[in-house]
Symmetry: C2
Subunit: 145 residues, 2 copies
DNA sequence: CTCGGTCAGTTGGTTTTTCGAACTGACTAC
DNA sequence: GTAGTCAGTTCGAAAAACCAACTGACCGAG
């Protein structure tokens, strides 16, 4: 017997679970568009660049997983648009941290999109510990179990 | 002329740039493994579940983009392992927020992996505004440009 | 009325990518 | 010298992505 048959035992992991839902080429871009209040199929297709048929299957999958909701906005002809659910809105920290990482480590040049915080300054996110309130620092975390 | 030829003009977007680098099925899982200090090809393949040939191309791509580094740890036979670069380590907020979202909106049941903060409590991340220090709240952000 | 346009998808055919599983080549340990 | 380790490579098959055109229901202008 050569190599053991499939010696792969993927880790039981919540990150993997999350990626199962939004970890493909288009889903997070769809969510981004909904954050930008583009709810219509055609707009989402245009702004993400996703092929229309692929977009169809992604939207269905996101609906299935409760990230977005499909709502009829016209009877005759039947027309639908999409909205973020609570779970979808909860993805904002993921998108914001991704954007920040992209800005600091991928893109050269200024960010084409900027967010301002109510405090008046450009928003730059910092991950804090909800318990003690301190900003997260490398090495402050220890793995349990 | 029927439908206009390719009426898709993807948004110029830093999130999209970031996803270009780590937005496929396996890359973020590879980064996760490196966070867990699994540096070897075989370990990464086992723990992520990625097919070995795909893993090869992903690792090369991540090296190309400066997320990880390939280092020789044995001369004869030549053997290599992988390490996170500074840019790779900077992905921790992305992984942590993804994990948290997965925990709250995808997975049912307890998280198989837990992080404890130096303060003694289980780490739960909260995104704060770096300028004013306040925790991010829905609607606190306004889109500029 | 008919012509052009809008809109949320479908359809069909092709190209790309993924995938599984076996195989390499250079070693080490027994 | 036989078995095992390890970082990949190779092969063929299956799945997914992709593109461009097409639908079917409507609207508004001429």
């Amino acid at each position: 017997m050569p190599t053991a048959p499939a010696d792969r035992t993927p880790r039981d992991c919540t990150i993997a679970d999350a990626l199962e839902v939004v970890g493909d080429r288009w889903s997070l871009l769809v969510v981004r568009e909904l954050f930008y209040a583009q709810r219509r199929f055609t707009e989402i297709a245009r702004n993400t660049g996703a092929p229309r048929d692929i977009l169809t299957t992604r939207l269905r999958k996101l609906v299935e997983h409760g990230v977005i909701a499909r709502e009829q906005y016209s009877d005759r002809p039947p027309r639908y648009e999409y909205r973020l659910t609570e779970a979808g809105r909860a993805l904002s920290p993921v998108l914001l941290t991704l954007k920040q990482w992209g800005h600091e480590h991928v893109r050269q040049g200024p960010d084409p999109v900027r967010f301002d915080h109510v405090c008046g300054h450009e928003f730059v996110g910092e991950l804090h510990c909800a318990a003690c309130g301190d900003a997260l620092d490398a090495g402050d975390l220890t793995l349990e179990r």
